[in-house]
């Protein structure tokens, strides 16, 4: 089965991004295909490479970044949500003259069209909100 995932909850204050990561791990382990993971609203914080977790806690953003790279997943951060929250790649940081870029490896920034495309090309779309 071809599956896409929508993450709208914050990785630091809600369970959504962790639940989504666990779900995506299970999806691949079960032999299904992940077409795309789309991060929207506070979910875009998952793509921030600058988060620091306490020593005895797992850094969920790092875990997502490694998972995406390991499986070469299509992981899209919504550009409108990202810019408002200060999640920038080099292109956007330059465009808006910001002092740094912070998009973690594996993620890319694009628009809502990518989410609609995921809906059209997936058998299931699973949302993780809060």
């Amino acid at each position: 089965m071809i599956i896409s995932v929508l993450v709208t909850g914050s990785p630091v204050s809600q369970q959504a991004a962790q639940s989504a990561l666990s779900f995506c791990t299970a999806v691949l382990a079960s032999g299904h295909t992940l077409y795309r993971v789309f991060f929207y609203e506070d979910g875009v914080h998952t793509g921030n490479a600058l988060t620091v977790a306490p020593q005895d806690e797992r850094n969920l953003n790092t875990a997502w970044s490694e998972f995406i790279q390991q499986h070469q997943l299509d992981a899209v951060i919504c550009v409108a949500s990202a810019l408002k929250r200060g999640i920038l790649n080099n292109t956007e940081a330059t465009r808006y003259q910001k002092p740094a870029a912070n998009l973690a490896a594996g993620f890319e920034i694009s628009g809502l069209g990518q989410w609609v495309d995921a809906c059209l090309n997936s058998d299931r779309v699973v949302s993780f909100g809060a």
């Binding site: 929508l6 709208t8 929207y40 609203e41 409108a80 949500s81 628009g111 809502l112 069209g113 989410w115 609609v116 495309d117 809906c119 059209l120 779309v125 949302s127 909100g129």
Partner: protein
């Protein structure tokens, strides 16, 4: 073509959910999909006309509801019990909507390819 159903459930200005849902609806409409846009729970407040969010430093993003028709989004619903619980009628709304029952909403969700609640 797929049927995408959106459930708008949050009050309009306490969070960014209303705008996030509307943006998804419009993006889906641009891709010429069959869209159902359903307002329920506190989400029915998004439909009310005469909001003046300038006073709380917010932008009236819901003025864009007027554009739904231009985007070809014709299936706009409000859950009747959410409306009546809040003593709202069609006369309070800025765009015409169809009222639906919980059973009709269930059938609509059942017939949808993708359901997104925000």
């Amino acid at each position: 073509m797929k049927t995408l159903t959106f459930l708008a459930r949050q009050a309009p200005f306490g969070s960014s959910s209303a705008k996030a849902c509307l943006d998804m609806v419009l993006a889906s409409a641009v891709f010429e999909q069959q869209v159902n846009y359903v307002f329920l729970d506190d989400g029915v407040w998004q439909l009310v006309r005469g909001h003046a969010p300038d006073g709380i430093g917010a932008k009236n993003t819901l003025a864009a509801l007027q554009a739904l028709e231009l985007y070809g989004v014709d299936n706009v619903y409000a859950l009747d019990e959410s409306m009546s619980e809040r003593q709202l009628t069609q006369a309070h709304l800025q765009i015409p909507v169809r009222l639906c029952t919980r059973a009709e909403l269930g059938a609509m969700i059942n017939a949808s390819d993708v359901v997104t609640a925000l």
